[in-house]
Symmetry: C2
Subunit: 381 residues, 2 copies
């Protein structure tokens, strides 16, 4: 352990109580000592991703959120929504660390060669519990950032880049040649635009606002359709015909968007059909739901034949399926293109205590596309 490290550090925790409330607060926790193959990372930057909110504010009615405590140790309290407690029984009364990924400096290392090799390096980490000041993680969980890259550059080096790469790998692995993405103006969506341009993969971007169309077009996106436009259905079919996209990744989940996409794909596939088939086109049409911006039911109006699938898609099982070699290959690409293809932009930066201030809290819980928070655990509140 390096002599100038503190004994204690701040860590954000999320607590669901058996009384049906949610409490977010800062805890003083001991700075851990790394085990043989671990490194101690001084966390300097960590994004707030949609996947973090699922752990941070599960089932909470955020309109009831109130802040108490002190400026250094604020506490956010909110009421859980109707019926939410039932699905959370396994975490009741246990304060959970939050934050899937982040980046920082390796300030101490265990005895193994892999750990020692990272000492002093700036690393991206997918270790969980990253909304903290110091985090001991296995050396294998670290991605050494290229020379000159800052912790801010590497804060989002795991979830979004590997998700974008995972979508393309899934597309290719399942025999498709072009894809559709919804909530396409998100940080992930912008990354996917850059990645697909680089790899020459036709991409249909579905957004909800005119300024999002412009944003994506300024990045070079060719096909951007607005789901709130009166001409959405015909625009979508046109883009699907132009790209032959037969797989979609949908961040919204609920509502009729998945159904619209499948029906659009079927229309595009059968545009030139001359023979009657009561089972629709033989082209397999797939929508993967990877998020839940709309937590309502998914409604499928099945006018898209019989060759179709809708299912959940999640990064972790995808990475397990591709194995260690595949994972290493994708991570190497992320490192090589960290500040180009896989760069992220943030609209606001907050400290750990700042995360629990009303204005910031109510902004990031909205999951608004285009809004992106970066947490700086070393910053003063």
């Amino acid at each position: 352990m390096t002599a100038d490290l503190p004994d204690k550090a701040l860590e954000l925790r999320s607590l669901v109580t058996s009384r049906g409330t949610l409490e977010l607060s800062l805890h003083d926790v001991p700075v851990p000592s790394p085990a043989a193959n671990e490194v101690l990372v001084r966390v300097e930057a960590s994004p707030i991703n949609p996947s973090d909110l699922g752990v941070l504010i599960p089932g909470a009615d955020v309109s009831t959120a109130a802040v108490s405590g002190t400026p250094e140790y604020p506490v956010v309290t909110a009421t859980l929504g109707e019926g939410a407690l039932k699905g959370l029984s396994a975490r009741v009364d246990t304060p959970l660390p939050v934050g899937n990924e982040g980046a920082g400096t390796v300030v101490a290392a265990g005895s193994s060669a892999a750990a020692q090799a990272l000492l002093g390096k700036t690393v991206g980490v997918a270790g969980g519990g990253m909304y903290t000041q110091y985090r001991a993680v296995d050396a294998s969980a670290c991605l050494a950032l290229p020379d000159g890259a800052t912790p801010k550059d590497g804060a989002s080096s795991f979830v979004n880049p590997l998700t974008a790469l995972g979508m393309l790998e899934t597309m290719r692995g399942e025999g498709h040649s072009a894809l559709v993405h919804t909530a396409a103006a998100s940080n992930l969506g912008q990354m996917l635009v850059k990645l697909c341009l680089k790899d020459g993969v036709p991409l249909v971007n579905i957004v909800r606002k005119p300024d999002q169309e412009q944003l994506l077009k300024s990045l070079g996106a060719v096909h951007v359709v607005n789901s709130t436009s009166p001409s959405f259905s015909t625009d979508l079919v046109e883009a699907l015909e132009a790209t032959s996209a037969t797989i979609a990744f949908d961040a919204t989940g609920g509502g009729t968007l998945a159904s619209h996409i499948l029906n659009g794909m079927e229309q595009a596939a059968s545009a030139n059909a001359t023979e009657y088939s009561r089972y629709g086109s033989a082209v397999h049409k797939q929508v993967y739901i990877y998020g839940g911006l709309d937590t309502g039911p998914t409604t499928l109006t099945r006018n898209f034949g019989m060759a179709w699938g809708v299912g959940g898609w999640l990064l972790t099982p995808f990475l397990q399926n591709i194995g260690a070699e595949g994972f290493a290959r994708l991570r190497a690409r992320v490192a090589a293109e960290l500040t180009t293809t896989f760069s992220s932009t943030y609209t606001q930066e907050v400290s750990l205590a700042g995360m629990l201030q009303p204005e910031a809290f109510h902004a990031y819980v909205k999951r608004a596309t285009g809004e992106k928070f970066l947490v700086a655990p070393q910053a003063d509140s």
Copy 2:
């Protein structure tokens, strides 16, 4: 060609007109001469399957059906439902033959050895257009029935037996060990009960009526749950826990049944979970929709984690995927167990002209589970 064959024969055809009507009628067609590798089958028995109704009465509002013509040549006319014509453009104004499968006697054969070997045999045929008196089909489309088996025994030797076998092959191929079936009191469902008992595969049968529960239990079914019972949800979860079934085949399609099954599977899978996972259980849960008894939208209330899929399942692409060897293996099993595992029962028999009589027509278009019609093309009207 054998000398005692007629020149002309009756054939049922279904016509969608550009005026938005459906017409079912009998045509006098020439008795075909078999090509080198073809045989001519005198069709004696052919079932009316749900999959035949899709070709017979596509999109028709059957409440508008009226019968005209003569007793020997009746004509059923009905109006197409709102918007139905659009999806049928490829078949407008072309009278289509109907009837996926049937059985009969090979009365003539082409010159090839395979065709000649079938001469005089009783065969099951999946040739399409089987609601006819004589049908020339490729020798490879014929299944020679075992000694003593009648055309009635072999009439349903293709669609239901191969669908039941295909469900089990799909289950095994995708790593599941037990399955769920809906509309389970159908002829197919009864076959699946017998097949799963024989193969030792745990099966959860979902039915809608108490007498259907009793019917399946009389066949030896262990798990039968009634979706109209007030205790359906808990009964279903109990059966899913008992069987560990994680794949379902659903004939209804629309409504909330697929969602109920996925949620039940998730409850069963997480019954013993102690650790909180916001993404639900890692067990993949799959529902295949293979029918459309309910043509309304499919509504999925996604409380079943992220490891799930819903999709279409169809016999033809399944058979294409398993290849010629797999197909031959399954057909050999059907022949060997034709009058045991794969036997069918029929509630009514009709001639070709009888199919177009009001009472019969209104009975089979209901697709009522348990009601099953057999067409006897050689019978007098």
